[in-house]
């Protein structure tokens, strides 16, 4: 449901404005709004002093936000900020600057050492490869350690051909593949031919492996121990730097997080100041809060300011329902389904919150489509795992809590339809359909789906009449007439099909003809088109039967294909794979189509979007956006 809201007005002497805003921030109850225009009343603006403070706070936040502080779970409040004076903020800014500079230095050193570590490791691979290539009896030979591209399989052959053209047979070339995909090549040539070879290599664009600092040219093969030593030294240095970084964050982190929270809090308060109205001597703050919290706010203000500050409720005649922010509140069991409601714009204040209806019908539709006790059990297991691995208030937890009832309905309908992984329940433990057999009774299943659609759409129409009745009585009459016509059509159809006594037919048709002009007069010429669309909405629920039948048929095919393989193992594996695909589809399709039936067919009959979210002035939480504030004061 949407909880009742009250509009309050807080009045007091102008010098108390900042104090009252701070008190309102502490209570975290009031969603501020600009006061109604009145004589002498001006919008409060930020003076030069406040604008300077904004710049200071924004500079502090720029320093702090760039630091890799420990993430705070978004649902938990940040460490309490305080309204520290200018010197405290300046101290924090200096500390944040120091921490940022130290971290930048450490990160740069770590990055450089890591690069060197990677180079050394790579070089070690080359040296290992070259050792294997070294032929016996080098004599007075010049060696070249080459790296050839891995994507060119002919590179070695081409190089060999080019060398043969210049040196004839007076060279040795050996190549080996490296783990990186490149090729390491060792080239030995007579010292006298070195100049020609270097020219050739330069023209061919072949890279010679650069030797690391401290290893003389030609000594690469003896560099291995030195490289291993350097690698160990780098590992030690990296560990030291990482430790220094951890210690810095551990010692400075909590204080800087407090600084961040305090700065955000102060900015929120300064932003709230712009929504206050001021006169030469006083101030006015207006806002919304849940009616049940009105007394709590009055008591908090009276305790802190005594009779100097007045908090009064604005009469309901002075405001319109659309202006009030919306707070949804539902029983614990229904609350996860608010996530589905919030996927659309919030319902307008004073209209109907569809969450409780969604909490009942969405899992029911899901269960009807999935309709398999085996799949339901797997889904319940999945929901349990997601629930155990998620935190309260996260989207994953909400998904887990929605999947739970869906799984329960899938198990219940699965027992009703006698399905456990298709017909395995029937084969293994003689499970029999209690309600209907979805494999054969397609027409009864279709009838059931359309009947559920009828109930759902009629419920939507009833809610539409109630919703319209609160604001537009004439529209309510029109919607009531449309609802009556739907019921009369149903009675006439059932009488025509001999489900109801035939004597019902004529009165139903006469009532239908009488309701028609009432509907057109009340709702206009568009009403007949909407009426036809309402009837077609009910047929749309046939998708429950279509998707349900597809699901059961897929499960049966999986079982039969599994049995048709010669090998038991292959058959079981194939069957499991097919069931897995069907299970994945069995989650996706009912969810999408269940949502569609709600958003399009059901909500379309009564839902009034356009509500604004309730954002009370409170203490900052991680992830909460900041209002944009002018960094230049208004004199």
């Amino acid at each position: 449901m949407i909880i009742p809201m009250s509009r309050i007005r807080v009045l007091g002497p102008r010098q108390q404005l900042d104090g009252v805003l701070a008190a309102l921030q502490d209570t975290g109850l009031v969603h501020l709004t600009e006061p109604k225009p009145a004589e002498l009343l001006q919008r409060a603006t930020l003076g030069e002093r406040e604008a300077r403070r904004v710049r200071q706070l924004q500079a502090l936040l720029r320093e702090v936000e760039g630091l890799p502080l420990e993430p705070v779970p978004s649902r938990e409040p940040a460490p309490a900020g305080d309204r520290s004076d200018t010197s405290a903020f300046a101290g924090w800014a200096r500390a944040a600057g120091r921490a940022r500079r130290t971290l930048t230095r450490l990160d740069r050193s770590i990055r450089e050492l890591e690069l060197e570590r990677a180079d050394v490791a790579r070089y070690e691979q080359f040296v290992t490869a070259f050792r294997g290539l070294l032929p016996n009896g080098r004599g007075r030979m010049q060696s070249y350690h080459l790296v050839l591209r891995g994507d060119d399989s002919q590179a070695v052959a081409r190089l060999r051909g080019a060398l043969a053209g210049v040196l004839g047979e007076h060279f040795a070339l050996e190549a080996a593949a490296l783990p990186t995909g490149e090729q390491a090549a060792l080239l030995l040539v007579p010292v006298a031919e070195a100049a020609k070879v270097e020219r050739l290599l330069a023209q061919s664009g072949v890279h010679e492996l650069p030797l690391p600092a401290g290893v003389a040219s030609g000594e690469a093969l003896r560099a291995q121990p030195a490289l291993a030593e350097r690698r160990d030294a780098l590992d030690r240095e990296l560990a030291e730097l990482a430790g220094e970084r951890r210690e810095l964050l551990a010692t400075q982190g909590p204080e800087l997080m407090r600084a961040r929270a305090a700065a955000h809090d102060r900015l929120l308060e300064l932003g709230a100041r712009q929504q206050a109205g001021i006169t030469p001597r006083g101030f006015v703050i207006e806002g919304w809060l849940p009616t049940a919290a009105k007394d709590r706010l009055s008591r908090a203000l009276a305790r802190q300011f005594g009779a100097e500050i007045v908090a009064e409720e604005v009469s309901q005649e002075e405001w319109r329902g659309e202006e009030a922010p919306v707070v949804l509140t539902n029983p614990r069991l229904f609350r996860p389904f608010e996530t589905l409601t919030r996927m659309l714009p919030l319902p307008r204040y004073g209209s109907i919150d569809p969450t409780p209806f969604m909490a009942v019908f969405f899992p029911m539709f899901f269960g009807l489509i999935m309709g398999d006790a085996g799949y339901g059990l797997v889904l319940a297991l999945l929901a349990g795992v997601l629930h155990a691995r998620s935190r309260e208030g996260t989207a994953v937890r909400a998904v887990a809590e929605i999947l739970g009832p869906c799984a329960a309905f899938a198990i219940a309908f699965g027992i009703g339809f006698g399905e456990f992984f298709g017909d395995l329940g029937q084969r293994w433990f003689g499970l029999r359909p209690l309600v209907l057999n979805r494999e054969r009774a397609l027409l009864p299943f279709l009838g059931l789906a359309v009947a559920i659609g009828f109930v759902h759409v009629v419920l939507g129409l009833v809610l539409g009449v109630i919703n319209a009745g609160r604001r537009h009585p004439r529209q309510a009459v029109g919607r009531g007439a449309a609802l009556a016509m739907v019921l009369f059509v149903a009675v006439a159809l059932l009488a025509g099909l001999r489900v109801l006594p035939k004597s019902f037919f004529t009165p139903a048709v006469v009532a239908l003809l009488l309701a028609f002009p009432v509907m057109v007069i009340a709702e206009g010429i568009i009403a007949p088109i909407e009426f036809l669309s309402t009837l077609s909405s009910m047929l749309s629920y046939a998708r429950i039967m279509a998707l349900g039948t597809a699901s059961v048929m897929m499960a049966l095919v999986a079982n039969r294909l599994a049995g048709s393989f010669g090998s038991v193992l292959v058959g079981v594996l194939f069957g499991l794979l097919f069931h897995l695909v069907n299970f994945a589809l069995g989650i996706f399709a009912p969810a999408i189509h269940g949502l569609r039936l709600h958003y399009v067919e059901f909500f379309g009959k009564f839902y009034s979007p356009g509500g604004q979210q309730y954002h009370p002035l409170g203490h900052w939480r991680p992830g909460q956006p900041q209002p944009s504030l002018p960094a230049k004061g208004v004199p």
Partner: protein, 72 residues
Amino acid sequence: MNAVWIVLAAAAAISIPALATGWAQSRIGPAVAASLAEKPELSTTAILLVAIPETMAILGFVVAVLILYRGA
């Protein structure tokens, strides 16, 4: 011969709407993807827009079932 026509009619009842659904979704999909690139908050609307043409295939399936049942 009659059975052949019944089966063909059922096949047409599901295949033509299925093709129409595929064509509609092929037009909606790129438009929705482009919208999501600019406004990711439209994801719910996007899912609904893609799911809406599926009604044709589903109703086609229902009609096909009815044809087969009446024929039988």
